[in-house]
């Protein structure tokens, strides 16, 4: 067998180093906001400043970026030194190593949107043993691995609101509906779809779900799946996509087929992504909870948990945000919002 010469090894190393250097530049560029925050917090010098790590399922999803914006907007006022960071893919094991390092760095509160209900539990329990307060937001772990869960919306709330948007539009008319989900194994999607089916069975017998297709998280797959739905199920008059890739993809496909106004498209997605389709009239209404408020509420819960003033049941009052129900460690954000054109223009996440 031929061996690789020193020259080649050296070249390979140089190339690798170049890649690492490039990646490093990118990382430095993307974190100035975190640095400036730290400086601001250090100058305030109050003993009550707490360090909070806000960990999303993954960075790079507008939804979580919106939650970060909300959290940042209230962090200073709550005397919170906020670090927002998460894995680049939906990885629970990456979250575990982040949690461990934040505990080691002496953070007071860890607020995580869990990629998996069980695999974070050992790390979170170890954190609580060391006196770190643990809350989950957006996506819960098993209850004994955290102190509070900030629940953005209940499964029933989302399912029933999505169906209500369609039912209100068709006003009792017999209507065939198709669903465009992300992947067949996505727990959230499947729970929402079950809740939609339940709402239809209970309240809207005029709606009929004809098919469920999947976009696999890819825009092009969403577009072609929608085209296949429209051609393969000619009676379908409404498409509900409870997925933030699927909804714009469905809108794009309906536009390409020239069926605006003939097929009603709605679902769950971020305003910044839906703007184009709302502006040109392909989509009139869609659903999402207020992600900014989710970030704000999570920060307020973090502060209250650190202060020891958070009630495990009852009402949690937040000045300027409202009153929130707390049930057995679950803080409810409330019913999701129905976004129309005006709301789409107003929000930026």
């Amino acid at each position: 067998m031929k061996t690789i010469g020193w020259k080649r090894m050296a070249t390979a190393l140089v190339i690798l180093l170049l890649i690492v250097a490039l990646a490093g530049c990118g990382a430095v560029q993307s974190s100035p906001s975190a640095n400036s925050n730290q400086n601001a917090a250090q100058t305030s010098q109050k003993g009550k400043t707490i360090k909070v790590a806000l960990i999303p399922k993954a960075i790079g999803i507008p939804y979580f970026t919106g939650a970060e914006q909300g959290a940042q907007s209230v962090a200073a006022a709550l005397n919170i030194k906020l670090t927002y960071n998460g894995p680049t893919t939906l990885s629970a094991s990456d979250q575990v190593s982040m949690i461990n390092s934040y505990v080691a760095e002496g953070y007071n509160v860890i607020a995580v949107s869990a990629n998996d209900p069980t695999s974070l539990a050992p790390a979170l329990k170890a954190a609580m043993k060391k006196g770190v307060k643990v809350i989950t937001w957006d996506s819960d772990t098993v209850p004994d691995a955290r102190q509070f869960f900030v629940n953005q919306a209940t499964v029933d709330g989302i399912g029933s609101t999505l169906v209500k948007v369609v039912a209100d539009h068709f006003k009792g008319k017999q209507t065939d509906v198709a669903i465009l989900s992300s992947t067949p194994s996505n727990t959230n999607q499947n729970q929402w779809i079950d809740a939609m089916k339940k709402t239809i069975a209970d309240k809207y017998p005029n709606l009929h779900i004809k098919t469920i297709q999947y976009d696999q998280g890819q825009p092009s797959t969403g577009v072609s799946a929608t085209e296949n739905i429209v051609k393969g199920f000619p009676t379908v008059k409404a498409i509900i996509s409870p997925d933030s890739v699927g909804l714009p993809a469905a809108a794009e496909a309906v536009e390409k087929l020239g069926l605006q106004g003939k097929i009603y498209v709605t679902g769950l997605a971020d305003p910044v992504v839906m703007k184009k389709y709302v502006d040109d009239g392909t989509v009139q209404k869609y659903v999402l909870w207020n992600v900014l408020d989710l970030g704000k509420l999570t920060m307020n819960v973090a502060r209250a948990v650190a202060d020891g003033t958070m009630p495990t049941s009852g009402t949690f009052k937040v000045k300027g945000l409202g009153d929130f129900q707390v049930n057995n460690g679950q803080v409810l954000l409330g019913l999701p919002m129905i976004f129309d054109k005006a709301a789409t223009d107003k929000y930026n996440f």
Binding site: I15, A23, G26, Y214, Q218, S220, N228, K231, E252
Partner: protein
């Protein structure tokens, strides 16, 4: 019985005509079961929807013919969608956007090429690594945001229709199909690609610069991924940092179904295109048959296996005849 092969056998021997027959048979079944499948525009839709995969697969085919494999083509395409989208959003003129996008794809391909041909590292490991690097860069480009609400110029590029009915991605696909066929069949560097894949040792003895041939194959794959990326984002109107995930598998599948031999030396662009079309028709047909979508992946897998098995069977029958 004479040893003269029958006409049917001759036709079956060509992978392209075998696939074409299979596709026509499928369409015939669809015509009987669900005539609307062949309705106006739907066939063009299917072709349009498999266009980006097919373009990526054309590049992959050239790599596989050299006995290599490129797992980074999907990530390269995804990376280009984000470069294209964010440059366009920042107001750069379309020509600059396209130039930079091409450059990104070529650099990505060249990096693979250097590591594999000049440093002699195994293709599957190198491109597995660059797959991660390029997917990682996607998060860096936009700091994780999506590209959406794109300017009209870029969207027009992806949505123009030649003669009023041939969508842009299909036009590009046809052009690249012709170019790559001419390149592989009639140009000297193209023939060298087959020669290297067939027998590296004898190719070297006949004076072919093996390193340059292998390097150029990965460079071409990067370029094709760039073209696919530009039209992906221009046609679909938005892209995310996970765009192109698993697309390398679809591209390899299309090439293999199309008769490209993973042991090198064999494969044609037309076969790959037919492979991509077959996959597209199967996915579409499942919806028309009202089969629950959870079956899609399994059925696609069966099609791939059927292609590989039929290939092996045909090969064995062929060698027995000789």
């Amino acid at each position: 019985m004479k040893n003269e092969p029958s006409l049917f056998w001759k036709i079956m021997q060509s992978r392209e005509s075998f696939l074409l027959g299979l596709i026509l048979l499928l369409l015939l079944i669809m015509l009987v079961v669900s005539p609307s499948f062949l309705g106006p525009g739907n066939l063009m839709n299917i072709l349009t929807n498999c266009a980006t995969v097919a373009i990526v697969a054309l590049g992959e085919t050239i790599v596989i013919i050299t006995k290599g494999i490129d797992l980074s083509v999907g990530a390269t395409m995804g990376m280009v969608t984000l470069f294209t989208g964010s440059l366009a959003l920042n107001g750069f003129p379309l020509a600059v956007v396209i130039l930079v996008a091409f450059l990104a794809g070529i650099v990505a391909g060249a990096l693979n090429g250097v590591l594999i041909s000049y440093l002699k590292l195994p293709p599957i490991i190198v491109t597995l690594g660059t797959l991660s690097v390029y997917s990682g860069i996607m998060y860096v480009i936009t700091k994780g945001n999506w590209v959406t609400n794109l300017p009209a110029g870029l969207l027009q590029l992806g949505n123009f229709r030649l003669f009023g009915f041939v969508p842009a991605p299909v036009v590009v696909l046809v052009v690249l199909l012709l170019v790559s066929t001419l390149f592989l069949q009639f140009s000297i560097p193209g023939r060298h690609i087959y020669a290297v894949g067939n027998n590296e040792a004898s190719a070297r003895l006949s004076g072919i610069n093996i390193k340059r041939v292998i390097f150029s194959a990965y460079l071409i794959a990067g370029f094709f991924s760039a073209v696919a990326g530009i039209f992906y984002v221009a046609y679909n109107g938005f892209s995310t940092p996970s765009t192109g995930g698993n697309m390398e598998l679809d591209a390899i599948a299309a090439a293999v179904i199309g008769g490209t031999n993973v042991f090198g030396g064999k494969g044609t662009p037309l076969g790959t295109l037919l492979g991509a079309i077959l996959l597209g028709i199967v996915t579409g047909a499942l919806v028309f048959f009202h089969i629950p979508a959870v079956w899609n992946l399994a059925v696609e897998g069966i099609v791939i296996l059927a292609a590989v098995i039929s290939d092996a069977a045909l090969y064995r029958m062929q060698t027995r005849r000789i």
